[in-house]
Subunit: 549 residues, 2 copies
């Protein structure tokens, strides 16, 4: 969020500048800081402009796992990760409706194919350079599986994930660690970092080359920054622009986890100089606590880990409709089932329900869990001594938000159906097999299962019978964004392209503000940040090679 | 389709013109012709530029029903259609996830609400003026229900649909009739119509006002057309730009019914002068014959009418998954069910199967039916003397296209499951009630049921038991577009707006090339063309009031 209002994105004309540098970077998340560092290390002067009052963007809220195919540790310990295989895995998940194993670009566009190759080739060099320079040291997480580790296309299902050195054992604070390290290094190495600067538009010369940006600061002044070589945008997606969400995303999300400053600024700024927009329909997705999104809570973290073994999700009728432990990007889709015969999203809000066992043993403040310990912000938790009381309280809570959820309300028969659902689930838990949704059968489901009671043991660690005795707890969930994936399209050098495929001179983009070739896929933990570091590296190198204007 | 390639959409600067007029209209479907006529009737000189070599765009392929709330005939015969009720019906269906009956704009944005009000207020005057002038006379179709006639929000479920006078009894050739009448009238009244002109970009003056367009003609010349008052785009959606479809639409369609020249030109041209894009995710949808789309058949017509009583759709496993007779916009959604646990669209291709009874009595060349009479293009029809033979032939046909459908193939168990499915369906047909999908329970399903054998009668005219004896027939279907709904946003005067809500001086848009406020709704037959005529009327009136530049 910015206190400075959005204004026209139409490009300004070249003229006097308030400050100049070889490279101007917009945004201070991982994409921006890495672009600034890589540019600086090649001898360029760099100004970095951040809209918010503090640095770090969405990265700071992230666990900052980063997915680096064929990374140094894999090579050292001999985990084979062939380029062709890795690209195949990416393609299969990105556009399953087009994937064709026998096609030269696997059924996808050349742009997508080239992006996957660029990720494979550059994530590791980028990562190593950041580590060598002391800007971002890491540890290798050899036990972390890809999110689709069971797919036959995944030939290296473990070993691609790195984590910032110094992150805690639970791996949840990597973002803070990384932003601290990268921003300290940027300052030490002479990057001119300025927060509270909202870039409104680029500045173009008579040949339509981008030669700078105009940024507004809090006292309504507009400052003009000249870029002798290039402007690199890394300003995040459009999660917090409701109009853009409604008009571009494939599903009606209520919000998400991204930094509140992610309002899609580069969609307008880029389009106004002719950038082609791509992948505007898809997002990095995650279940979210509905009320946090509706209330605009800046502390909202996506529910990466749906902890609780004696815990289920049910719909307004009291029925289970999905595997609660699916990896977060996939789990989020369950909320957007469309019923064409009713013209309705029947699962737009699902209700997580758990008992005292899960409350006692699966509560945590990390990874956006909705089961939180005493003393945490638990305004979203609904309670009931019995299932009847819980039902009444869920009904009341849903009614409170009905005006914003298309009048979603509990069915009259909810409590009775819920009892039958619990009985059926309890049978699955006792047997260790979920015959309806196969809960707990994938590696990733165990990875994110979270803390749980150790005893008595159950045959499937993701399921335990829900107690016949209260108290009971509930929370309202929906599907949300981590951040969006659409924006101006770039080539593998990070150059922004127009719709004829021609680069817009001097204009680069990195991260969630530009189009991701991942389409709807979430290949693994860190499939956001690994590729972002690769593209920051490529963009900085290409920008360095630009002539000084 | 145009033989003239797309080139840069960046605006050109004002200067000399090859021709000038008060108003330049781009596109010759209903939106373009109506804009030209309304402009001309106010005394403006008008040049109309059409990219294709013939006039009519998508309109010419349409049945040209047009949905006109509170039209003259309704008023005359006393069918009440209150503005508030009509807006409520539109809002309920457009964004069901946001609809709130107690909110001042019903939970939708002010822009959407205002658009619905403008449609209600202006479709009838526009229609009457066209009729009075002899450009488009009509007949009132009082028996045609809205597509959601059963919704409590629909207070005038019948009576809003008009049809061009002179269209045949089956109402399928309204588009040809309308284009013939409207273009003849435009020529007679002095509109300067030029086909084979591909508009590539607008021309702007020093104040960024739009003062004309540049168009390429076949011999690679670029002609410059000056607009003293306004340019009105009515150039259609982006159904035939595969990159845009993939990067904007909420679902992965293979193509659609729109004129082949609908390649999204105005998305680029508008964005390059700062237009905000809206509703890029949704389309006017319809089932389509898969092979016609994959083969780029310009004659593809959406399957408005899934005729055949002894006919079912099954998935790759041989199971029914939807009500085959749902209204086309809703039926199309059934193909895009997403399975998050498999990362796949399991229903991306469904298989229509019918027997000799339906082949004999339900075949027709109209309304995009896949059951076609002898002598028609029936390359899409798969045949088999027995269900076993049919299964083998479906399997072979699917394999032929597997490289383009994400490797979709019949399950091994298809034939056995199909037999069980037929048995279950036959029971429903005999009883007259479809316990799985409620086929035939809505008015619209009867409206589009198409021709069928009169005897022996079945209790539900949409269902008849599938014969135990061959021959059998099948066709591969997917969901497709009629045309897309997204593009630059306009106000109710048709002025194109930038993302601050400011009109771009001199630039107007009408029809599928600009954002439709209908989001995912298809309110009734003619919900495309009725509103288009209303907005053409509003845009022409506002353009007329512009100062001459």
């Amino acid at each position: 969020m910015s206190s400075i209002a959005r204004r026209s994105a139409l490009p300004a004309r070249a003229g006097g500048f308030d400050a100049q540098a070889d490279v101007i970077v917009v945004g201070s998340g991982a994409g921006g800081l890495a672009s600034a560092l890589f540019s600086r290390w090649r001898g360029n002067s760099v100004v970095l402009l951040e809209k918010a009052d503090e640095l770090g963007g969405t990265t700071k809220k992230a666990a900052f796992w980063y997915w680096v195919p064929n990374n140094r540790h894999m090579r050292e310990v001999g985990i084979e990760d062939r380029k062709e295989d890795c690209i195949r895995y990416m393609a299969r998940l990105s556009r399953p409706e087009a994937y064709n194993p026998d096609h030269p670009t696997l059924g996808l566009s050349q742009w997508e194919y080239d992006a996957y190759a660029a990720i494979y080739d550059n994530a590791s060099p980028a990562t190593e350079l950041l580590a060598e320079k002391g800007a971002l040291e890491y540890r290798h997480c050899d036990f972390v599986p890809d999110y689709w580790a069971e797919l036959p296309e995944d030939k290296a299902p473990k070993g691609r994930v790195l984590l910032p050195k110094g992150a805690r054992e639970s791996m949840s604070d990597g973002g803070e660690v990384a932003i601290r390290a990268m921003s300290a290094k940027a300052l030490a190495d002479g990057v001119d970092i300025r927060a509270g600067h909202r870039v409104q538009r680029v500045i173009v010369d008579d040949n339509r080359a981008v030669v700078g940006v105009e940024a507004d600061v809090a006292d309504r002044r507009t400052l003009r920054f000249g870029a002798r070589k290039a402007v690199i945008f890394a300003s995040g997606g459009f999660t917090h622009d409701e109009t853009m969400r409604r008009n571009f995303q494939s599903v009606p999300v209520f919000g998400g986890c991204a930094a509140k400053s992610n309002e899609g600024d580069f969609v307008n700024i880029g389009a106004a100089v002719g950038a082609e927009l791509r992948n505007m329909n898809y997002a990095w997705m995650c279940p979210i606590v509905l009320e946090k999104a509706l209330n605009g809570d800046p502390g909202l973290i996506g529910t990466f880990s749906p902890s609780g073994d004696s815990m289920i999700y049910v719909d307004r009728n009291g029925r289970r409709v999905t595997n609660e432990k699916l990896a977060y990007n996939e789990s989020a889709q369950a909320f957007f089932t469309w019923d064409p015969a009713a013209s309705a999203y029947p699962n737009l809000v699902l209700i997580a329900i758990w008992d005292e066992r899960s409350q006692k043993h699966s509560a945590s403040d990390e990874y956006g869990r909705f089961i939180v310990p005493e003393g945490s912000d638990d305004a979203h938790v609904i309670r009931g001594g019995t299932l009847a009381e819980l039902t009444a309280n869920i009904r009341e809570r849903l009614n409170k938000y009905a005006a914003r959820t298309g009048n979603l309300a509990l069915a009259e028969s909810f409590e009775a159906t819920l009892r039958a659902t619990v009985e059926r689930f309890n049978g699955f838990a006792e047997a260790g097999r979920d015959l309806d949704f196969r809960r707990g059968e994938r590696q990733v489901e165990l990875l994110f299962n979270g803390p749980a009671a150790e005893s008595p043991a159950a045959p499937n660690p993701t399921m335990y019978p829900i107690s016949g005795k209260g108290p009971y707890y509930a929370a309202l969930l929906s599907g949300g964004n981590l951040d969006t994936k659409g924006g101006p399209v770039t080539n593998t050098d990070g150059q922004v392209l127009d719709h004829t495929g021609t680069p817009i001179a001097g204009l680069y983009g990195v991260g969630n503000c530009v189009a991701s070739a991942s389409a709807r896929a979430y290949w693994a933990g860190g499939a956001t940040l690994g590729p972002i570091l690769a593209f920051a590296y490529l963009a900085a190198n290409a920008a360095d090679a630009e002539p000084r204007r």
